[in-house]
Amino acid sequence: MQCQICNKRTATIHLTEISEGVRTEMHICEQCAADQGIAAQSQMSINELLSHLLASQPADDEIFGPSDQESTCPNCGFTLARLRKEGMLGCPDDYEVFEQTLLPLIERAHNGNSTHCGKVPAKTPQKTKRLVQLSNLRRQLEVAVRSEDYELAARLRDEIKGLE
């Protein structure tokens, strides 16, 4: 793209200005920008950007709970400290041993859900399908009650009763 002022050099500075709802774009080269007194400056230094990003990350304690909840899996010797460090569990039993710590983490990673609520394969046994359907309906019921849509809530309640 050529500079809009000198029409010779390549435009390396791209300005977008939105004023009173009108958007204007300008593409100019560095030299013309200097002549016009437009300084090419990044809005934020890298350090500033990084510190903002880090500040928006939850702290360890927020993710895993207070660090004094130390416990060890009797089967594999895995500890919460290692989960914090490695982000992976040691054996299937850990899901039960560290359930209290893991549940909020799982919910956070899955939009507040700790059980499957998505699609179910056609070949899934009826019983499993019913369980997923029930959990979905209960969630919808909660939302309906919260938003005071009692008509919908009553319908959902009847549907849940029918399935139970």
Partner: protein, 130 residues
């Protein structure tokens, strides 16, 4: 079956011969599982990893996967061979660089691959054209 055969083969999944090939080049399904009664890979001793490896290898090699299947001991493979497998998307970079007993079961035309002792005991992928 030698690994060099793979380097000269044209993968079936890239042949453009599958259903709806004008829209879909290939489809891949992946499935990861851990064996009951064992610790997870990251927490396993080399001895336990060897046991898991032997158990899974025996089962996978006895299956009829519709193609010639071969086993590669990834921890004993050369760097060049590991890189070849990574570049062909048959194993992950993590699997190539990890430590301890681990392997891969690969069907000759690359339609099936299983990584043994990667992050999970068993990670399988099926890759088909279309």
């Amino acid at each position: 079956m030698r690994l060099t055969d793979i380097s000269t083969d044209i993968n079936d999944w890239f042949s453009g011969s599958g259903p709806l090939a004008d829209i879909v080049v290939s489809s891949r399904i992946r499935l990861a599982r851990n064996l009951a009664g064992h610790k997870f890979v990251g927490n396993c001793s080399d001895e336990e990893k060897s046991q898991i490896l032997a158990e899974l290898k025996a089962v996978l090699m006895s299956l009829d996967l519709g193609d010639e299947v071969f086993y590669i001991s990834v921890d004993k493979a050369s760097h060049l061979n590991r890189d070849l497998l990574v570049e062909r998307h048959l194993i992950s970079r993590h699997h190539a660089q990890a430590k301890g007993p681990r392997g891969a079961v690969i069907a000759k035309h690359e339609s099936f691959t299983a990584m043994l002792n990667e992050e999970d005991h068993l990670r399988m992928q099926v890759l088909k054209a279309g």
